[in-house]
């Protein structure tokens, strides 16, 4: 491992910028993501910052079951994120559509049809600690040695 790579690994492990995008959920998961900001969970102690700006994000949290309004826009948001990047599906909705995935619905799950998903956190809604754990595990598995593995 080169020195540069080692520096990059060290820096990246303490600096994860997160953007979240709601593609049609009941916003229960939205609020649980927001609750991660609370002093109780204190995500900044892990070096995670929520800016909600795709252009400076590393991790995109996708919430919701993909409604028609996002048809072209979600892919646009995903392209705006600079590499290395990872998307995490929060809640049951992006995984399966949960209980909205019935006859007569407008949604089009799963979200992994539309953008690549690195991790999934099931739950309706998942607890903030689970969301936090998913972000941390993605950090270790996707961003570690990224340049060496993607020459």
């Amino acid at each position: 491992m080169s020195l540069l790579q080692r520096i990059k690994n060290k820096v990246r492990a303490r600096s994860i910028h997160v953007a979240y995008v709601d593609v049609g959920s009941c916003n229960g998961c939205d609020i649980e993501v927001l609750a991660c900001l609370a002093p109780r969970y204190d995500i900044e102690q892990y070096g995670i910052y929520v800016h909600n700006n795709p252009r400076e994000a590393d991790v995109l949290l996708v919430i919701g079951a993909y409604t028609p309004g996002w048809e072209e826009k979600l892919a646009m948001v995903w392209e705006k994120i600079p590499s290395p990047k990872a998307a995490i599906a929060i809640g049951n909705c992006p995984i399966s559509g949960c209980l909205f995935n019935r006859r007569e619905t407008f949604i089009d799950p799963p979200v992994r049809k539309h953008i690549p998903i690195a991790a999934e956190v099931p739950g309706c809604p998942p607890r903030p600690t689970e969301i936090l754990q998913a972000i941390l595990s993605v950090r270790d598995s996707v961003f570690f040695n990224w340049e060496a593995e993607h020459p």
Binding site: C29, D30, L34, A35, P39, G64, L99, F100, F106
Partner: protein, 361 residues
């Protein structure tokens, strides 16, 4: 609607201040906003279409997932509508427990709304204090119902589980602590000179305009209109409920009304806990055919369910009128017009506590 305008500033759908996706196309003349067009459709799941033809046991969970922030009230209003259709009586202890769950939900929703407002006007310290306080309310909600969000606590003829004596004592103790903290935070908001500069006199909603747009909840009450569906609810009437209003009509008043209502909720829960009647928490009954229009007071205002069911308790027709529809409309077409700068648009929009998931269903 295609129009040619001077300057059109789109905000959203992804915006650091908005919790949920919505797009506001602000038509500006210099810095002054002269018109706003709202573009929705990012959250349209068609819940009402899914609900049609399904038994109430399924619709109950779907109703809860109309809105994840105020899920208890959706549960409550749907179940009380079904009870009214079928003539199911609620045991007195269950009625009080429902009020406790509902008021805890209102507290966390109001604290979250005020957190969003503080975060939007960049007062992050106060925002974080409020979010921390909200976590304590969520703990209490979890202790009572078993889940943080979407807890399905209320069922026809009662509630799902009882509140034990030691749990009630713990709830009372933590209410005491939360009230002290909240008094300090409210003082910070009320007396902060910078907050007043940013909030007072911004986003005026006149009572006439509020009435025309059918504004409800804290948005209407901050314009001096005393509307509150809790005044018509039998359990709240026993508790001696009176709505909180403020005459100021601006962003500051809307946030302060929410703070005042949190104190009021603490008082209501305390009153429920001190004379909690003994007895069962689950009655019995069968959901039958009927048609009803039933309203309840959600944290954001009047929530109305229009339901028609058949003899097996299946939902034949349903429509939900959520408070955010009226409030966002009043906000975007009355309050924001004439704002002095684009920075006030987000603050005003957030001060009306918009919930896009409710609006679109």
């Amino acid at each position: 609607m295609k129009r040619v305008v001077d300057v059109n500033i789109p905000l959203g759908p992804i915006h650091p201040c908005f919790k949920e996706p919505a797009r506001l196309k602000c038509e500006a003349k210099g810095e002054r906003i002269i018109g706003v067009e709202v573009e929705l459709g990012y959250m349209k799941k068609g819940i009402e279409r899914i609900m049609k033809g399904r038994p109430w046991q399924e619709v109950m969970f779907l109703a809860e997932r109309v809105c994840g922030i105020c899920s208890v009230i959706h549960n409550l209003v749907f179940i009380e509508a079904m009870e009214q259709i079928s003539g199911i009586a609620v045991p007195p202890r269950a009625a009080r427990l429902r009020v406790i769950a509902n008021e805890l939900d209102r507290m966390q929703s109001h604290l979250l709304a005020n957190f969003s407002y503080c975060y939007t006007i960049e007062h992050e310290t106060l925002g974080m204090y409020l979010l921390d306080l909200r976590e304590q309310v969520m703990d209490e909600l979890e202790r009572l119902t078993g889940a943080r969000v979407t807890c399905a606590y209320i069922i026809p003829g009662g509630v799902r589980c009882d509140l034990r004596k030691e749990e009630a004592a713990a709830l009372l103790a933590s209410l005491e602590r939360m009230e002290g903290d909240l008094r300090r935070y409210t003082g910070m908001f009320e007396n902060g000179p910078m907050i007043a500069l940013r909030s007072r006199g911004v986003g005026i909603l006149t009572p006439d305009a509020a009435e025309r747009a059918h504004a409800v909840g804290p948005t209407a009450r901050a314009s001096g209109i005393a509307v509150d569906c809790r005044m018509n609810h039998p359990t709240y009437r026993q508790l001696g409920f009176a709505p909180v209003t403020r005459p100021d009509r601006d962003n500051f008043a809307r946030v302060m009304v929410r703070f005042d209502e949190v104190f009021q909720s603490i008082g209501l829960i305390r009153k429920c806990l001190t004379d909690l009647p003994n007895g069962v928490v689950r009655g019995r009954g069968v959901c039958t055919a009927g048609e009803v229009r039933y309203s309840g007071e959600a944290p954001r205002g009047e929530l109305t369910y229009f339901i028609r069911s058949d003899e097996f308790g299946r939902i034949v027709e349903i429509q939900i009128q959520t408070p955010s529809i009226m409030n966002i409309e009043a906000c975007c077409h009355e309050m924001i017009i004439g704002s002095d700068s684009i920075a006030d648009v987000t603050a005003t929009f957030i001060s009306a506590d918009p919930c896009i998931a409710c609006t679109e269903r």
